[in-house]
């Protein structure tokens, strides 16, 4: 089993995110609290529009926080100090077709974070990063349009790991990929988490994916937390709320299918 949670590595207290557009206020996230232990993998599940991705963006300072606090290792996050934040927290985006610069080679994409932080030994690090995510070194000078979706997502993961962060935010990292590639990428992420001792905060609308990846799960609906579950609760279908049960029922057959094939 996993080690006991030593401390609350990522703490989110009563977080609220409110978007204001043309005088209208949209409460995307309302009073959500969660905590993730170091080297744990935490999943956020919910239908689209439930505010799960907004939480990730709020952590990165990409969404307007209107209340509550976000702390990492006990310190409030400071996205103003972009470089210090970048070397702790990195994000993998949903769509690998949009998250790589179309006019930069893979080499440029991977060495950019090193250049920003003035880290030496670019060549060796880029080659090692490609190896790490299971891409051949011959891909190094290709452009994104010469890669498939799964290969691109591997590059995006490699880029997120270039700065050796402690926390990886995963925003539906496999929803744009087809089923077989999805499994490969998820297994890669699990392997990297074990190797690098990463903490995952993962968003998905797919309970099967979350079940495969996460130790703890928070179910969200309409910007509010509905129920927090451990993986064991999910496996034995011990949900307390109606909504979580429905969500589980919708993807239960796929989860069972996945486990029987494995």
């Amino acid at each position: 089993m996993r080690d006991v949670i030593e401390s609350d590595f990522i703490e989110i207290d009563n977080l609220s995110v409110t978007f204001e557009a043309k005088g209208r206020r949209v409460h995307a996230v309302q009073n959500v609290s969660l905590s993730v232990g170091a080297k744990q993998s935490f999943g956020l599940v919910g239908e689209s529009g439930s505010g799960k991705s907004t939480i990730l963006r709020a952590i990165c300072g990409l969404a307007p926080v209107s209340g509550g606090a976000i702390r990492i290792a006990g310190e409030p996050v400071n996205t103003r100090n972009a470089k210090a934040f970048a070397s702790r927290v990195q994000m993998v985006f949903q769509d690998p077709y949009a998250s790589l610069h179309p006019r930069h080679t893979i080499d440029r994409t991977l060495s950019e974070p090193l250049a920003i932080h003035g880290i030496k030994g670019t060549d060796a690090r880029v080659v090692r990063a490609l190896e790490d995510v299971g891409l051949p070194a011959s891909f190094r000078f290709r452009y994104p349009h010469q890669l498939s979706g799964g290969q691109r997502q591997r590059v995006a993961i490699a880029r997120a790991l270039m700065l050796e962060p402690e926390i990886l935010l995963l925003d539906e990292p496999t929803s744009a990929l087809d089923a077989s590639v999805q499994a490969e990428v998820l297994n890669l992420l699990n392997r990297l988490r074990a190797e690098h001792g990463l903490t995952f905060l993962m968003v998905s609308h797919d309970l099967a994916v979350i079940d495969h990846m996460c130790d703890r799960i928070l179910v969200m609906q309409h910007g509010r937390a509905v129920e927090e579950l451990a993986r064991e609760d999910l496996a034995s279908a011990r949900m307390k709320t109606e909504y979580a049960r429905n969500l589980f029922a919708a993807s239960a057959d796929r989860m069972l299918g996945a486990t029987s094939k494995d």
Partner: protein, 302 residues
């Protein structure tokens, strides 16, 4: 060498940064080569460059030597196939040497106006808000003036001459580039790959220079080649009005201007440089059209 050059160029797994870049350029060239009109345009421009570079070889006479005994000879006269002007100077030789001045003006405008426009457009588009408003209103003010009038005013202040003419053209030509660059910046500014470099701690300067500008460059380059015809015409217009290049330099607009006096009797004096301007403008337009097909990010494969 076990592999041929074309294999090296089209290698799907390049082994160095340079090979990847050259390979991409080679593919773009192959796409451009399929467009016959663009190749015709390119041929005209290459010919213009060759003419400018090797003017003494192409020219049959000294473009400055006056020979009043042979003034206003019609085209087809042996030794003066395009005729002579009112000072007896060979028109063909003057057109050949004039290519140098035309190319000089084009080159200077091409390295100034798009750079100013690109910088202002990307900065305005990336930062948005008050920066955007201020920069774009300045752009609007420049756009609101008719280009030739503004160029005339600038030349009137700075004094006539080739460098001042270029300066005037560059200062009036940048606003469209700023518009194009800003529009392009707005479409890429919120994309995931920009958010990704921002999350890696990149500053605004690095993002604009390294990540936004490469996306704006193709549309600006297309715009530049399409505008070159206009630049030649404005330079010729300034020359025609006597505010650009000064006589006796063989600038094409100036040559048309001097032929105006006897347009009805000796039509060739104004017509021949006019044909040269027409041909070169056409060449740039054809090339620009072809480049749009090759470089436009919307038509390129993702």
């Amino acid at each position: 060498m076990t592999q041929t050059l074309s294999q090296w160029l089209t290698d799907p797994s390049p082994s160095s940064r340079a090979q990847a870049r050259i390979g991409q350029a080679w593919l773009a060239w192959l796409r451009l080569r399929r467009n016959h009109l663009a190749m015709l345009g390119l041929a005209i421009i290459v010919l213009l460059c060759a003419m400018a570079a090797f003017a003494p070889l192409f020219a049959t006479h000294d473009p400055f030597t006056q020979n009043l005994g042979q003034r206003l000879l019609p085209p087809g006269t042996p030794g003066h196939w395009l005729g002579t002007d009112d000072f007896g100077r060979d028109i063909w030789s003057r057109i050949v040497y004039g290519a140098r001045i035309t190319l000089y003006i084009i080159a200077l405008v091409a390295v100034t106006a798009p750079v100013i426009g690109l910088a202002i457009g990307t900065v305005a588009g990336y930062f948005g808000g008050i920066v955007d408003t201020v920069l774009m209103r300045i752009t609007d003010i420049f756009l609101a003036f008719p280009r030739l009038i503004l160029a005339l005013a600038l030349v009137a202040v700075l004094g006539p001459g080739i460098v001042n003419a270029v300066l005037a053209i560059a200062l009036t030509a940048w606003p469209p580039y700023a518009r194009v660059a800003r529009a392009e910046t707005l479409t890429v500014r919120n994309s995931d790959y920009i958010a990704a470099v921002r999350l890696q701690g990149a500053g605004a300067g690095r993002i604009i220079w390294g990540h936004v500008m490469p996306m704006c460059l193709p549309s600006v380059i297309i715009r530049v080649t399409l505008d070159m015809a206009g630049v030649i015409l404005i330079a010729a217009g300034l020359g025609f009005l006597g505010l650009g290049v000064q006589p006796p330099l063989p600038e094409w607009g100036l040559m048309i201007s001097s032929g105006r006096k006897f347009l009805f009797e000796q039509w060739w004096v104004a017509t021949m440089p006019g044909l040269a301007i027409f041909l070169v403008s056409l060449g740039f337009n054809l090339l620009g059209d072809g480049l749009r097909d090759v470089l436009d990010p919307r038509s390129a494969s993702r």
